[in-house]
Symmetry: C2
Subunit: 641 residues, 2 copies
Amino acid sequence: MTLSPTGEGLRRALDGPFHDLKQRWRDEVTADDIVRDTALSVEEAREWTLDRVVRLAHRDLVTAGFPAEVGGTGNVAASVANFEMVAMGDLSLTIKTGVQHGLFGGAITNLGTDYHHRTFLPGAISTELLGCFAMTELGHGSDVQSLETTITWLPDTGEFEVHSPTPSATKAYIGNAARDGRMAAVFGQLIVDGEHQGVHVVLVPIRDEAGADLPGVTTGDHGHKGGLLGIDNGTIRFDHVRVPREMLLDRYGGVDEEGRYHSPIESKNARFFTMLGTLVRGRICVGGGAASAARKALSIAVRYGDRRRQFRSPGLGEEILLLDYLTHQRRLLPHVARAYAYGFAQNELALQLQRVSDGDGDVRDSRELETRAAGMKALLTRWALDSMQEAREACGGAGYMSDNGITMARQDADIFATFEGDNTVLLQLVAKALLLEYKSTWGDMDLRGTAQKTAAMLGQTVLERTTARSVIERLVAVADRKPESERIRARGWHVQLFEFREKHTVEGLAKRMRAAGKLQGAEQQAAIMACQPHMLEAAKAHVDRVVLEAFIEGIEECEDDYIKAILVKVCDLYALSTVEANRAWFLEHEVFDAKRSKSITATVDDLCGELRPKARELAEGLGVPEEWLKHPREAVPPLLP
Amino acid sequence: MTLSPTGEGLRRALDGPFHDLKQRWRDEVTADDIVRDTALSVEEAREWTLDRVVRLAHRDLVTAGFPAEVGGTGNVAASVANFEMVAMGDLSLTIKTGVQHGLFGGAITNLGTDYHHRTFLPGAISTELLGCFAMTELGHGSDVQSLETTITWLPDTGEFEVHSPTPSATKAYIGNAARDGRMAAVFGQLIVDGEHQGVHVVLVPIRDEAGADLPGVTTGDHGHKGGLLGIDNGTIRFDHVRVPREMLLDRYGGVDEEGRYHSPIESKNARFFTMLGTLVRGRICVGGGAASAARKALSIAVRYGDRRRQFRSPGLGEEILLLDYLTHQRRLLPHVARAYAYGFAQNELALQLQRVSDGDGDVRDSRELETRAAGMKALLTRWALDSMQEAREACGGAGYMSDNGITMARQDADIFATFEGDNTVLLQLVAKALLLEYKSTWGDMDLRGTAQKTAAMLGQTVLERTTARSVIERLVAVADRKPESERIRARGWHVQLFEFREKHTVEGLAKRMRAAGKLQGAEQQAAIMACQPHMLEAAKAHVDRVVLEAFIEGIEECEDDYIKAILVKVCDLYALSTVEANRAWFLEHEVFDAKRSKSITATVDDLCGELRPKARELAEGLGVPEEWLKHPREAVPPLLP
């Protein structure tokens, strides 16, 4: 199974700055390393997953993001790219390393100080110290600020006491909690001398070497789930568990030897959201991981549609390939185009993460990154679930057999819409950041405050281009000079449509929110609530535009003219199928008329037909090694003659 | 957990003519009878499913559809309603009885003669004779006419020889094939004296009492699947297997004792599609079963959203219930409204099946039923998957735990989009039937013939009301007299919108198909292919209208004014959210303007708010017994405080 030159060229373009890194995975990592047998029971899946994550860690494949002094490279963008590659293999394995290295290790890295790095990171990296990221509780998931677990300073003994005061304070859905974890990074309300200092994180040993719960700790097992069977999600309750003072991850707030609370950040609110903000990588990884799983499913479905024939046209001989049906092209090719679009945007996001990580701590840069990460996470995971579903159905009955490779990935990816932030909540946070021009604390869901603070006139934020600025200006100028009839495939026109939609939805939202801000009590509450769907629309319009710009940048950076020409068409399909999906909005706002609207649909049809002969190469370009697509179990006869 | 009076009233209205039958299930069938433990392995799930299907059969709960002389009631509508009730419990169990009683038993009932009924039905009903419905092959699924298995008449011995001439002729995905089946109803090309008589069905024993493959038969096991783990799907290959002449199900064609082929239907094509047509119940059941699973998922999600709180509005005290957020109402309530709409339409469809079954064999009635069944199957299964997904996500992390009850049902329902006809293929058949005014053979995918035969002017078919005719005429007249501003909630206006959309899409399609019919060869092929998405649109518009009419009829038949008033609002939400989803089309065809389009969206928001206080009762009305929602495993603490 050799890669076509076009497939290889597309792959190189889509990998972009991460090509060498991703190529290492393709060259060195076998299906046995990374592809799980779908028939494993919960217990077997957990064993396999733990075993494989240990092996990956020892091969230095998932630890790029750690500081150099403890054996990492400090290259957080590379850690995102690694995550995306694991996700092309198996999502349980992905989330296992995500919990261990990304969340547990990441919390220690970002919220801890030198002591914590030296003491705990080597074990976290090597997996000798398996850890949990104990944030979510039964009672509170999205609303982290309302967590009930307490971390109380005991001045008499110089210790912290970690406690779950209510049943709903029980930590829930925690990866590594049911079986493997030995320590947990526990989020709770820090109380010092009776004063609440807000949510902080403390390291708490939860199990002994043999795996038994330590005194005061009670773990539970969520058992079977809708997917991710390799992850031992569980519950943790604390009954007055004491840990030494040093166990608090105190980079942003701690208690000194004299028992005094200190923090470099005055405001409790700002402190809390700064701490959460350092964990932004998790959100970026989740979006990228879901997109990888979607690429895999699309790779399988496109290959299937390019081999499978059904129905004969009378008098025309051979049976017809599924991908030669327009309906089938329509099902898959716009998703393939979107896979490219999101791939380029995800590369850009990883680089942005690296810049902020290496930067001077500029607050606006951080907020922009957090906004982008949240918006991308919401759109990528949504699309991943939708496209994987389409891919499954496009393979018919064969697609339902686990050997085909799609269903398990689809089931594993399901929860990506929820964890690292429910998509509906995240999109509202994105809208809020846009309304406040990145000026306010990121992550706070106070919509009343937002209504009161929304700027009278939104300034440059809305239209600020994120990348490829001069290229885009040139494209817009070119489109402006074209006669109306020729603009439908002019990239500059697409940009104008995307920009108008964003600007108009955000500004319209701002007007409504400002009006709501002037009301009182229940009336205000109702007015804000009524804006919710508008907030989701504004956030989506924003992310759509950012993604289009990243695609344009990706094409600009491609040095092979032939590949570039294909990518231009793929970008046409992404742009126009996005416009098509939103054409009701454009018609309602009289941006174009009925005739143009219909011609957009016709052009999407045309583009599907034009790209169809390159479907196989486009699937190869998505970058999933063929070997990983082949499932290890071959008990049944091959499903295709 | 008592049912509210409103919930009970809604349930009674939605059950309609099947209330007593469905109530028997709720009164007599326990969770232990019908709710599967989600953690069972493939082997355990198969065992549980077989055990429970045997028990249901012995309690006379799933055998209504068989002829009276062998112990059934001949009430096929009741058999559909029974199927819907099993599907509220567990879909593996549903499909197990569906394969055994509906497909295997149904093939014998409908394609066999008195001999077959007497000889095989008692065992099929009691489950003593477990059977397969061996239609699909590896190479051909949707295109049944191209099956490769041969059934060759051997004049010398007076037997049939069943054979799989190629690997792609292997029967595939067959329920009961991997483990339990002892006999198969095998679809294959009948060859008598060298002449091909088209697809016929023959009964072939496949395993001995002990479960070993009989000589010449090779079964295989598909193993783990994306869901329906309780079904032992497998493959069957035949190597020159001989069966006596009597084993051919010869109601529509067989070989007499002298070895002469005879059939009451002259045309091979008509014969084939007549045989397939008798199996229409399976398609009706699949749509209804998927809808039942969706009702269950929505029942769980609505209850969750009505208890779960998240985020506090500053200064406004208690945390907010999820269902008090407009975004959350928007996620669930239009789906609940659609559950009612499809429920009423499904009742109507089951009654129509009964009428055709009891009728005088009028061909047009049969074709209309087949068209309705195909369209409903496609729309109901699509909606079921979408709404179950939304329900899962609306429950957040709790929704991903198998104990919550949604994920397994969602995974089991996944294949409903494919089996009993791929939805994309079915919708094209619906469009074809509309174009040809039910005059042509049903089920034939010859689109070239359709193009050539499409009527110049479509007559009454398109606008023929299916039910509640006089009521609808009155509603339309009322709407016509209302001032424009008041029409948005006038049912007659909704009807007009739905009818216009259907009429316009079907007529527009007819024009394009007729134009294509005049072309030749590859040009014609391309023109027909370009119509495919238009065919899907026309079919959906048709079914949407039929569903709205059924909802109107259902409301008309409700005798409780209070319940009726709620149903009117639910119907408003169904109608307007459907219009909203298609508003781009209405704008493109200048049916209403931008302002009206926006006001439709605003009215859907309003309706969500108006129905929110009745959300719990509406969920109860969906008719899933509370006891079946409670999962038997309670190893983890309850997920809600």
